[in-house]
């Protein structure tokens, strides 16, 4: 069974005061996420990732379409007891301590009163906030608040987790810990749906990804499948001070460092390039396949002008 089924979910907002007009935040989106998957929802800033998550959480209402999570409608309270949500740049009641906040969320999630204390302690230990459990959240750093956000999302042992930019605000160690946590959740059979514009995170974690841009789904599939559609390249390095004329037609990307030349050629031209170098009696130092990254696929799917601001790897 699919953990998440999105059936033509779309969102238009009315903007303007006098001259009202419709602004499309999300075009009809069809997507399915299987149970136990880590699913990455990728796109530059303003692509529609957060709108999609808000629609799934029932925070905004769809203009058309519907969605089901664990086979239940998105406004079904029984379903909400089985999901966890981390909003982007979370902000919590800062007059509460971390312990009080999690107790409150445990109450709202319907966690049994006898188990609340234990669950709160466990989850605080899991995100490394045991020592500051009695500190008011107003004294927390951005990274610590992100950890509290993760703690409240996993507190009630939900089956499906939605993380909106979970690595945001975290230092490299924190990012690593979140990646480890997501992998651990997957091992426990949980489904994780997370949005990000940090492609390396998606590449290292996700079973499948979807790419969204300007509110429109541009591609969806396993990372390996998506990247295989991008033509591979190899880097050839040899000792010389110039490029043979026969090779110049095969590459436009040559760099010189001291007595070494580095040229990038398409996989299809690899043999021809090697033959050209051998004919000239040049000794080849190395031939390295260049890994096709999700970033390349991502950049190809989006217009260059619109990726510059939003994409980091």
């Amino acid at each position: 069974m699919s953990a998440i089924e999105i059936l033509g979910l779309a969102k238009n907002y009315t903007v303007g005061f006098w001259r009202k007009r419709q602004k499309c935040a999300l075009r009809p989106l069809h997507l399915s996420v299987e149970e136990g998957e880590i699913f990455g929802f990728l796109g530059p800033n303003g692509a529609g990732k957060t709108t999609t998550l808000k629609l799934l959480m029932g925070l905004v209402f769809p203009s058309e379409g519907s969605a089901r999570i664990l086979g239940m409608e998105i406004n079904d309270p029984r379903m909400k007891a089985q999901i966890g949500f981390l909003p982007e740049q979370p902000y919590f009641y800062d007059y509460l301590t971390a312990n009080e906040l999690l107790e409150y969320y445990a109450q709202l999630s319907g966690v049994d009163a006898r188990e609340r204390g234990r669950k709160v302690s466990e989850v605080l230990a899991r995100v490394g906030l045991e020592d500051v459990r009695r500190t008011q959240l107003r004294k927390f750093s951005k990274g610590m608040l992100q950890r509290v956000g993760i703690a409240q999302a996993i507190l009630h042992d939900p089956k499906v987790l939605f993380f909106d930019e979970p690595m945001s605000g975290l230092d490299p160690i924190g990012r690593r810990e979140v990646r480890d946590l997501m992998e651990e959740l997957k091992r426990q059979g949980k489904t994780v749906f997370f949005s990000t514009h940090i492609l390396s995170d998606a590449e290292s974690l996700c079973d499948r990804v979807a790419i969204i841009h300007l509110g429109e789904l541009r591609g969806v599939g396993a990372v390996a499948d998506l990247t295989s559609s991008v033509e591979g390249k190899v880097e050839i390095i040899w000792h010389a001070s110039s490029v043979p004329a026969s090779l110049k037609a095969l590459t436009s990307d040559c760099r010189f460092t001291a007595d070494t030349v580095r040229a990038v050629v398409r996989e299809a031209n690899q043999d021809a390039a090697i033959d050209a170098l051998r004919r000239e009696g040049i000794r080849i130092v190395s031939i390295t396949p260049l890994r096709t990254s999700l970033e390349e696929y991502f950049v190809r799917k989006l217009k260059p002008s619109q990726t510059a601001a939003g994409v980091r790897s």
């Binding site: 925070l59 909003p87 902000y91 007059y95 409150y104 969320y105 709202l108």
Partner: protein, 258 residues
């Protein structure tokens, strides 16, 4: 009662307490102490009248200010700070959130009023040296003041469910002022003619009738308040509060939390 409503109400109460709302009691205590000492010296024979009038008016004013200035942020602040996202993504219905918030602030106001009531009686005892039987009507006046707080809290919450805190404050305070003259408005409606008559009647019955719930002057003059009056005003305040809350729920149920 629904347990999630109780949890939200408790958290709202805790928020108000930690936001130092009860600090107003210090100002109130200073006011009552000063009034009691001054009244004893300058108002011979009418100490009781002055202390009761001043005390109950201060209770009402302090409570209305708290109800409006906390009430207007009950929903809008949660949206602005996005604390609502992690609440509504749990098995919490939107109406439960609104009702919980209302009860939390109402509870805060009741506790605050209870402390202030102690202050009023203490000041009264200081200037009169002994309580009289008619002083029990002060409790009735306090009860009716609490009913006003419930209405104004619901009104602030209604505006908070669709407007900014600043506009909500302006709307709620304006409605409180107009509502305080609701009886005069009804009198004007009775005298008016033609379309202005119907317009005035409509407005007079739509705005909350706070003037009817204000018995401070009669109580200060030791005049009794009838049981029928208390009953009808209680019914009116509770129905008005419930309908205002329903309006807030209806708006909030359809609001996109952008």
């Amino acid at each position: 009662m629904n347990s999630r409503i109780v949890y939200i109400a408790s958290n709202t109460f805790r928020e108000a307490i930690r936001d130092h709302v009860l600090y107003n009691l210090i100002a109130f205590a200073l006011l009552m102490s000063g009034a009691a000492i001054l009244v004893g010296q300058i108002s011979l024979g009418i100490e009781r009248l002055v202390v009761v009038n001043l005390g109950l008016a201060a209770v009402s004013l302090f409570g209305v200010v708290i109800a409006i200035f906390i009430g207007i942020g009950l929903v809008s602040k949660e949206i602005e700070k996005r604390t609502l996202y992690t609440v509504l993504s749990r098995p919490v219905e939107r109406w439960q959130f609104i009702v919980g918030k209302f009860l939390g602030l109402a509870g805060t106001l009741v506790v605050n009023t209870a402390f202030m009531a102690v202050g009023v009686f203490a000041a009264l005892l200081y200037v009169t040296r002994a309580f009289e039987r008619t002083d029990v009507w002060i409790l009735v006046a306090l009860y009716l003041i609490i009913l006003q707080f419930l209405m104004i809290t619901a009104i602030a919450l209604l505006f908070s469910s669709f407007s900014t805190p600043l506009l909500s404050a302006v709307f709620a305070f304006s409605l409180f002022v107009v509502g305080s003259f609701a009886e005069d408005l009804r009198g004007f409606a009775a005298m008016a003619r033609g379309i202005s008559r119907w317009l005035a009647i409509g407005v007079a019955y739509l705005v909350p009738n706070f003037s009817s719930l204000n018995v401070i002057t009669s109580v200060a003059h030791q005049q009794p308040v009838t049981g029928q009056f208390i009953l009808s005003d209680s019914l009116y305040a509770l129905v008005y509060t419930a309908m205002t809350l329903c309006g807030a729920v209806l708006i909030f149920e359809h609001r996109n939390l952008k």
